[in-house]
């Protein structure tokens, strides 16, 4: 376009190229627009917008793409349709076992449909490249849509002229023309007062016969604040992938143990897990005896390592920093660390026994002596006996070759082999195998193993008070999330903007009286019903009674 375009309005104001309605008086500028009688498109008050400029270059084309509301809607639709796909079968992320094999699982459990699901990568829908791409595009669209619109809007609303062109007023979506018999300046003032009662800010020009009443301009900024909030929210979500910004691991602690939280300087001790079920009289009929849980909690102590922390050779020095009872809805919080109650296991674990040695020939018993499952003492003097611990197994069993082995490092079936010296025993001592747990004693025929020695002596625990065991193991979820506070800030602004923009509407009413001819036009971004009611109310107070609907000029929608 080499010819210069005349953009100076008849009111004298020079408008930027591309302006639809004169920035000063509102007169429609484009040829086509001037001739038609259609209600005016009042977006951004008709101000020129960057993305509407002629001759877009490559950068402009990308910008226009992301600035388009239509594209944004398509992105939203594709995103939620994609999200639906992820709910057809359970996502792979719901299986936290280390041995989970997705390929096998989906095809075995769901057949062909499962195989296809796995093949398309849908078992990881929400972390797939295409889903993230959609979110990135929505984020970009949020930024560009907003920048493109908020500045022209601000410019348009910041400097508004009071006396508008007749064409502007008559072609608003709510309009009224009529005669006014009273004195115009007086009438205008009265109209302004009526609207002031409805909360409008009223401006009257020097002539006294033109008026602009405006209410709730702030609500126009609502959508932009909302978008800023959403952008911050998305950025916070992304920030969690920064190393160390998001820790999500589990620790399992058996009652009484202190375990390190790997990757941090913290240690946590479980002072005991406990679970309470509802009594039958607290439950309705169909739930009786169902074992419904009432509470489960873990009493923990949190320690911070003060010295020897990176070193596993030396014992770390621990300082207690916090004590807490962790409930499902009440995690432990310390600085940026959180420990949540995740799961539990009621399998007891034996820690130590304090048995007596009984001389079966004399009937006397000696002891008790303290025998721990983990790292026990190697020498014991109990009465006339002296015992040397030769070997031990945590989880005793016999393998296919008949050799003794241990199945695990947990004391599920502890076994101890002592070399015992004492009364009526060989000089060099005799081997005695001891199973602290009765079930193992029977299972492995302890007496048969010990042969004649079993007739001479017995090692026995006297009563449950001499058994030290942990009743339960608690599983805690360890969480450090440095990005989550930004997430809440983003959510807050999003809500704030949403509330500002939806529960209030920006309303403007212009009027001018020329001789005795009143021309009135009104505009709002939503809720024309309410706007018409306001305009009609003020007219009524000035002596013109009419049905608000009659002000409608194509603005009845929305």
């Amino acid at each position: 376009m080499l010819l210069p375009v005349n953009s100076k309005c008849e009111c004298g104001h020079q408008n930027a190229v591309g302006t639809v309605l004169c920035e000063a008086c509102g007169k429609p500028l484009e040829e086509q627009l001037m001739k038609s009688n259609e209600p005016l498109e009042m977006r951004y008050d008709g101000v020129a917008r960057r993305s509407q400029k002629a001759n877009p270059d490559f950068l402009d084309k990308i910008w226009n793409f992301f600035s388009s509301v239509k594209i944004a809607i398509y992105l939203i639709i594709i995103t939620f349709l994609g999200a639906m796909l992820g709910t057809i079968f359970p996502q792979a992320s719901t299986f936290i076992s280390a041995t989970f094999n997705p390929k096998v699982y989906y095809s075995e459990q769901y057949g062909l449909a499962g195989e296809i699901y796995y093949f398309l990568g849908l078992h990881n829908t929400y972390s797939s490249w295409w889903f993230i791409t959609l979110l990135v595009m929505i984020g970009t669209s949020l930024v560009i849509c907003s920048i493109d619109r908020v500045l022209p809007l601000y410019r348009a609303l910041n400097k508004q002229q009071i006396r508008k062109h007749h064409a502007f007023l008559k072609r608003q979506k709510a309009t009224y023309s009529g005669q006014v018999t009273d004195e115009p300046v007086q009438w205008t003032k009265q109209y302004g007062e009526a609207l002031k009662k409805k909360g409008y800010k009223v401006h009257i020009d020097e002539s006294g016969t033109a008026l602009l009443a405006e209410k709730n301009r702030f609500s126009r900024w609502g959508p932009y604040i909302n978008h800023i909030g959403l952008i911050l929210f998305l950025l916070a979500v992304l920030a969690r992938s920064i190393p160390d910004w998001n820790v999500d691991t589990y620790v399992s602690i058996t009652d009484g143990d202190t375990v390190p939280i790997v990757g941090t300087n913290y240690y946590v001790k479980s002072d005991g897990f406990s679970m309470e079920l509802y009594d039958n009289d607290e439950l309705p009929i169909e739930l009786k005896d169902s074992g419904r849980v009432k509470t489960f909690k873990t009493d923990v102590v949190l320690y911070e390592c003060a010295a020897n922390c990176g070193d596993d050779f030396l014992q770390p020095e621990l300082q207690e920093v916090k004590q807490h009872t962790i409930l499902v809805n009440d995690p432990l919080r310390y600085k940026e660390l959180k420990l949540h109650q995740f799961d539990f296991n009621l399998t007891p674990r034996i820690n130590a026994v304090s048995p007596m040695i009984i001389n079966k020939e004399t009937g006397e018993s000696y002891g008790p002596f303290h025998l721990t499952m983990v790292d026990p003492e190697l020498y014991y003097e109990v009465g006339p006996y002296s015992m040397e611990l030769i070997d031990k197994y945590m989880d005793f069993s016999i393998n296919s070759e008949g050799e003794p082995i241990t199945l695990s490092s947990s004391p599920n079936a502890p076994a101890f082999i002592f070399n015992i010296k004492g009364p009526n025993l060989a000089e060099d001592g005799e081997m005695f195998m001891y199973f602290p747990l009765e079930k193992d004693k029977v299972r492995f025929s302890q007496d048969t193993i010990n042969r004649e020695l079993a007739n001479k002596l017995e090692i026995k625990v006297d009563g449950m008070e001499n058994v030290d065991f942990s009743a339960a193991t608690t599983y805690l979820n360890v969480r450090i999330d440095k990005a989550v506070k930004f997430l809440w800030i983003g959510a807050f602004f999003s809500m704030l903007g949403l509330i500002m923009g939806t529960y209030w509407q920006h309303r403007r009413i212009w009027l001018r009286i020329d001789d005795n001819q009143l021309t009135l036009g009104a505009h709002t971004n939503k809720n024309w019903f309410g706007l018409r009611a306001d305009a009609a109310y003020a007219l009524k107070r000035c002596g013109i009674e009419l049905d608000p609907k009659s002000l409608d000029n194509g603005g009845h929608k929305g």
């Binding site: 509301v69 639906m84 041995t99 989970f100 419904r292 409930l327 959510a491 949403l498 939806t502 939503k526």
Partner: protein, 420 residues
Amino acid sequence: MNWLDFSSSSFIAAFFLYVFAFIFYMVAVAGKKWGKRDAKQHEARWSKIAFITSSLGLLAHLSFFFTRWIGSGQIPTSNMYEFITLLGMTIMIAYTIIHFIYKKPLLGMFALPLTIIIIAYASVFPQEVQPLIPALQSNWLKIHVTMAALGEAFFAVGFAAGLMYLLRVIDYNDHTKKGKRAQRWLEFTLISIFIVIGFIVAAFGFKGAGYVAQFQQETVDVSQVGELTTSYDVVEYTMPPIFKPYNSEALQVTEFLGMTDGLFETPSWFNGVNSGRKLNTVVWSIIVGLILYGIIRLIIRKPLGAAIHPKLEGIDPDDLDEISYRAIVIGFPIFTLGALIFAMIWAEIAWGRFWGWDPKEVWALITWLYYSAYLHFRLSRGWHGRPSAWLAVIGFVIVLFTLVGVNLLIAGMHSYAGVD
């Protein structure tokens, strides 16, 4: 005074008051042409009576809610029965608010049956108070669930207004392809509502008759490492078994119309112990719903939409369009705050993560994205009126899927207790 008994009585009172309000709305519309009445006056008078009745119903419903709270010591929002009755109550609250803004009584003619159907649906589920499991023992239960229900209630009112708009605007004299297609989709929507009614009728009917059937099902399950394990489960049916569970044997079947065993077997690719029973229930709902619809169709001798259409002639369709939009606009921030933001805060506290892509969470997000698309659509001209009304109708289907469909069809952390 036994609070829980009083609560149950209040509920029944609310139900009947809603039914009467609905009848009064019908009288207001249908009776306009009776005898020598002044149509406008008649409509205004009966609408007022209907509104007062529905408000009394709402008071009774609120009393049900609060007395149940006092009687059980916990807010009644923790299982399916309680949540869906809450939804019915919030729909009436949303309706009452919209009524005060717009004063269009005929909206009540659709909002009330919607509420009635919803609380009747709720009544199918176990009603006893169930003490809270640890995950629900939090103040957030009070805030998250009630706000989400309120937001969804406004979407429901938007649905009702949108449906009314379509009934008002779709021209049954239009025999073009486009016109016929619109009529058919509208009729399909109405039939779907009948299927929900069919479910309620079938559930209450068979339960009332004490129908019972039991099957033992053998299932082979796959563990996370690919190991196969076999298990045996007993599945109980409360409706005659058109579809018995896959790979099952009848233990006990009450006879119905000559049926003493399952007619068909649920296909093997249906997953879960209860999938056979659910399929059976759905099939029964469809059958009973279609029978009910068929009876009505025989009586009125034309499509249901065509019969309702003339009754709505007195309403300005643009008002309906406006009401539908406004309801959704009012509900959207409430839904955002209650169903998403408070949900995320609570999830962070209870489970350590604010979002886990749990099916319920995902569908709440889908609902949110859908209505957000709806609101952006309204920014363009040409998307008012019919397209907008259809979107409002479909939107509520998505809401219902989030509330009910996810629990029924998909497992997850969010499954409500007492879901059958």
